[in-house]
Symmetry: C2
Subunit: 235 residues, 2 copies
């Protein structure tokens, strides 16, 4: 029976966190309840908006993130997964404040790219404006030889940013068209795969027809990394 | 911004808990992350099997349930929702051990029956053998004038118990046929609505065509009760 408890720092957004818990369950080889991964989900949607903070128009989320980490530590968790790509912009501050390993979502995405057989070369990454401006994927995927291209500013303003906001407002079906259009634009410019590098985006992309090119779902990638950790791999 | 934190004592099973978090999110009127209900999900699939305990063939789950409640108290939660019907058989022990209100899933189901306009009279209830043997719904719905009928022992053995186990083993698609057949048998015997009184059952029922009679999803009912609590109603 598994005895490592996964801490999930979530609520950013809450629908992505719920989907993370669903994938964590469905991707675990299990024949009964007791085979599944014990986990505590700290779903705090009140964490200040990460993109607004990075753009200097809102309060810093670090204190709220650290409050969640304290809660997960107190609950006995042995590692932390954060199903919000943008929050990883504060990972240095979080790592400085806890001895628990944090399973980095960009490392999980790199592992998913490898598992999907995506060779070094051009790929696309969609994410919040803050995630892309901080270069989280550009930096994290460089070592694997992937060359990251991102949506244009016009595509961000017209498609990606509104698409993410629609998911956070429970308007998932409506988010599909703009998010799919942005992914297709990256593929048309040569991306061999598109990383859905904001955990709202896979929800929108899944709400319509499948894309005719590989997409990397960072919710699923982080769930798989979490299951590997729960099964005994070092975090 | 909401400031009441919901405690979710879950993992029984984990897929039902994830679906509870999804419904909690989708049913909340929200335009952005910060409008959603803060929640902590204690997903502990290691809690001893409730049905085996009630049947005298497995250890008692109360200690594990109380450990979860302690964790949710420590996290600052103001009420507890338990998306597992069978676990409510231990509610006296849980209520004796905490000052937090526990939002009873059978009360939530009664509210859902009222909201669906189901008049007093015959209804069906599906659940684990333990939930039905303990009379959780028979007792809890009596005051509303609903007369509860349950699957036969043969239907339990052939359809309901295996259907629940399939969901817990991540074989949700396969669970639809047996669970739907059991629901239809209750409707054929005169039930005006069928309460899906085990949180695995709505997952299986939703994995195929809709039923031609009202069904009450206890995951959704508990999510709605939780949102009412978060919005300020007394628990």
């Amino acid at each position: 029976m598994p005895d490592r408890i996964l801490g999930v720092l979530g609520g950013m957004g809450p629908l992505a966190s719920a989907e993370f818990m669903r994938q964590l369950t469905l991707l675990t080889p299990a024949a009964r309840d007791q085979d599944h991964v014990p986990a505590v989900l700290w779903s705090d949607p009140r964490v200040p908006d990460r993109t607004a903070a990075r753009q200097g128009t809102g309060p810093d989320p670090l204190l709220a993130l650290l409050r969640g980490i304290r809660g997960l530590e107190a609950a006995g968790c042995g590692a932390i997964a954060i199903p919000c790509n943008t929050a990883h912009g504060w990972i240095d501050g979080m790592r400085a404040a806890t001895a628990l390993p944090i399973l980095h979502i960009v490392d999980a995405a790199a592992e998913a790219l490898r598992a999907a057989g995506i060779p070094p070369g051009p790929i696309g990454v969609m994410g919040t404006a803050a995630t892309l401006a901080m270069g989280l994927f550009q930096d994290g995927l460089q070592a694997g030889g992937w060359e990251v291209s991102v949506p244009t500013e016009a595509e961000m303003a017209r498609l990606v940013t509104p698409g993410i906001a629609l998911v956070k407002a429970n308007r998932v079906a409506e988010s599909h068209a703009p998010l799919a259009e942005a992914a297709q634009a990256l593929a048309a410019r040569g991306a061999r795969a598109v990383v859905l590098g904001c955990t709202e985006i896979p929800l929108g992309i899944a709400a319509g027809p499948a894309q005719p090119f590989p997409v990397i779902d960072t919710i699923q990638a982080l769930a798989l990394a979490s299951i590997r950790w729960a099964q005994g791999e070092r975090g």
